[in-house]
């Protein structure tokens, strides 16, 4: 081998040796110092850290019917770079999505690499879009809260806003229990982004929200909404409310407020419609309060149903004249007849026998002036002024439900106390809650004994006579005994005086009278028929009571 060849060989050798050293050094570097960086890059490519969204709990009525639930709907996304013909795709998508093709085409040409075209599609629309088989389109599932019964029960349910937070009603009050807790999935993916069942897989399962069963009966709720809507439309009223309770334990069987809204489309709702008139709106109850006044007086044994006074058409209390409706004088009148004829003068007479202090006490015992404690968001307390702030005339006006305010739910709870023998229960809406720990039932809460059982029995009989023989006759049912009282109250203006010729009509009653299964209060705000609004209210009571009693299989207690 000549010297030149040997030298060349040496050069090549050293070059190779140098390359080897460099390579070895690089390998060593990436295996030691740079290991974590490379590992991080690889991990980032291979692993994905996903949140597993928790499903919001289902809300059902007392019979298991779904009132609110969450389902995964498909949202349509596009990768514009993979769509060969934007205009053609837009033309085919437009009719299905209900959007102008030009708008879709503009969206596709916006320059985004990935974008949603429309989110949470109805399933049928999603199927039709999938059938188009347009390249570059795909679906992702997103949760959507659905209310299968539309506007029925809207106020008692509430709704879920865009951030997934419950608002109003049960959705608001029980949001923490309903929403659950998201989980986490750390998983390796292959180059096609498919999750690998083997390899690294760390999963913290999502804890789905608790399922709630309400005391609400969907059939009762639908009947109450139907009757209230019809009454309001007939009367041209501003709004109204219906509350139906089970007097045996305070369970809320129906809770209606009108105007109403669609919980699935809250963005289009009138803000006034969001107010729940059954718990978040107060009114002066009017003559329905006479049952409370008479209860207190009989409980205190200052009057009996047959106690008599001479009705001259008005009473004078504190120098103020309090007239009967239409100013009519009835002459010798019993306490029983005060309820039948709804006499303001009679109520003032009874209140004067009872005294302001005792009347004020009984208003408090029946729950007026404080929230009932119902498990819904936004309840108002109503107003009963402290006794020290009463004027002498307040003794008279409070006796027939003016000068104080209450919610329809408070009036219903008070009548429920009369119906069940004298016990005031806290109304409640959620009957039970089912979560990972099992089922948790709500125990009825006794607030206090309000009146003696004998007093309650006497009032039941008197209120039954008020329906059978009095102004509330329109509420009577052929096969059932009904107990109740109408109410027509003036509406106060902002300056404290009452607005002329504007009224709130109501009816509060329970059926069957002797073994009551439901208590209902119907309130119509400013019916156009004014003093005759109670006729419509009693008709509404009759219409929904028939359906409710029939649905609940309540045995008639009268021969038709």
């Amino acid at each position: 081998m000549d010297a030149v060849s040997a030298r060349r060989l040496r050069v090549v050798f050293w070059l190779l040796a140098l390359s080897t050293v460099v390579l070895a050094a690089r390998i060593t570097y990436w295996q030691t110092v740079g290991r974590s960086a490379l590992l991080g890059l690889a991990t980032g490519q291979l692993r994905s850290d996903l949140a597993i969204p928790a499903h919001r709990g289902v809300i059902r009525d007392r019979n298991g019917a779904i009132l609110a639930t969450t389902v995964d709907l498909r949202s349509l996304y596009a990768i514009p770079g993979r769509i060969p013909d934007h205009a053609g795709a837009a033309a085919r998508l437009g009719p299905l999505l209900g959007q102008a093709p030009a708008a879709i085409e503009k969206t596709l040409g916006s320059g985004a690499e990935w974008l949603f075209i429309k989110r949470r599609l109805p399933e049928e629309v999603a199927r039709q879009v999938a059938a188009l088989d347009i390249p570059g389109l795909g679906f992702e599932t997103e949760p959507k809260r659905l209310y299968p019964n539309g506007t029925v029960g809207a106020h008692v349910l509430g709704f879920v806003n865009d951030e997934g937070i419950g608002q109003y009603g049960v959705e608001g009050r029980y949001d923490a229990a309903l929403k659950g807790a998201d989980g986490r999935l750390l998983v390796e993916r292959d180059p096609s982004s498919r999750a690998l069942a083997t390899g690294l897989r760390t999963e913290v399962p999502a804890r789905n929200g608790a399922d709630l069963t309400l005391t609400i009966d969907l059939v009762f709720q639908a009947a109450a909404e139907r009757e209230l809507r019809a009454a309001i439309e007939k009367e041209g009223a501003k709004g109204g409310s219906v509350v139906v309770l089970d007097p045996r334990d305070g369970a809320v069987l129906a809770l209606v407020s009108y105007p109403t809204f669609d919980p699935a489309r809250v963005a289009q709702a009138d803000p006034e419609a969001l107010r729940d008139r059954s718990i978040a709106w107060t009114y002066e109850p009017g003559s329905t309060m006479k049952a409370v006044t008479v209860s207190g007086a009989i409980d205190q044994r200052v009057v009996t149903p047959s106690t008599t006074y001479n009705d001259v058409g008005y009473a004078v209390i504190g120098g103020r004249r309090l007239n009967n409706a239409l100013g009519k004088a009835w002459g010798p009148t019993t306490v029983q007849q005060v309820l039948e004829r709804s006499l303001n003068a009679g109520a003032a007479f009874i209140a004067s026998r009872l005294g302001a202090e005792k009347l004020h006490e009984y208003l408090g015992r029946f729950g007026f002036g404080v929230p009932t404690g119902v498990d819904l968001a936004g309840e108002q307390s109503g107003t009963v002024r402290p006794l020290a702030e009463w004027y002498p005339v307040d003794l008279g006006t409070a006796s027939f439900g003016q000068g104080l305010s209450a919610t329809p739910l408070q009036v219903a709870a008070a009548y429920a106390a009369i119906a069940n023998g004298g016990t005031l229960y806290r109304p409640y809406v959620v009957a039970s809650r089912r979560d990972a720990d099992g089922e948790h039932r709500t125990a009825p809460v006794v607030v206090r004994r309000v009146i003696a059982p004998e007093t309650a029995a006497t009032l039941r009989a008197m209120l039954t006579s008020a329906v059978d023989n009095g102004l509330a006759k329109n509420a009577s049912l052929a096969a059932y005994s009904v107990a109740g009282k109408t109410g027509t109250a003036q509406v106060p203006s902002e300056d404290g005086r009452y607005i002329d010729d504007v009224y709130i009509s109501s009816f509060a009653g329970f059926v069957p009278a002797e073994n009551p299964r439901l208590v209902a209060v119907i309130v119509l705000d400013e019916p156009q028929s004014r003093l005759l609004g109670t006729v419509t209210a009693t008709s509404a009571f009759r219409g929904m009571a028939i359906d409710m009693l029939r649905n609940a299989r309540v045995q008639p207690d009268r021969q038709p």
Partner: protein
């Protein structure tokens, strides 16, 4: 060695030269030595080959198993996706059932079909029936 020639006078026997027997070096065991080394090489080669083949088989088995596990994993994931989709469809069907069962929808549909609310619903007492029997 004396060779007796026929018809001739005997010849003086050749002088026998006595030599010391040649010192014999052990003949190189070329044939048996070659056979032994060839056998060792073959055995070594066979062993290494067997080892490599064995490694290859193990590797193939391992890869096969890993591949099967991975394929099984994909199948598990696919089935999980199918299960999730079926659950989703089931939930949608439950919602559809609830919508169809809605009392308001039923009432509206009845009205649309021309049905009217019953004015009276006769209620027959069980006790009355029993008494009649």
């Amino acid at each position: 060695m004396t060779v007796a020639l026929a018809g001739r006078a005997s010849v003086r026997p050749a002088r026998r030269v006595t030599r010391a027997p040649a010192r014999r070096h052990p003949a190189p065991r070329t044939v048996p030595a070659r056979r032994a080394s060839a056998s060792w090489e073959v055995r070594s080669f066979a062993a290494v080959l067997a080892f490599i083949v064995g490694l290859f088989v193990v590797a193939v088995l391992y890869l096969g198993q890993t591949t099967a596990v991975s394929a099984g994993g994909y199948e598990v994931q696919r089935l999980a996706d199918v299960r999730d989709e079926l659950r989703r469809q089931n939930a949608l069907l439950e919602v559809r059932i609830a919508q169809l069962d809605s009392p308001t929808r039923v009432e509206n549909e009845a009205t649309r079909l021309g049905l009217v609310r019953a004015r009276t619903v006769p209620i027959i007492s069980a006790e009355t029936l029993a008494a009649l029997r």
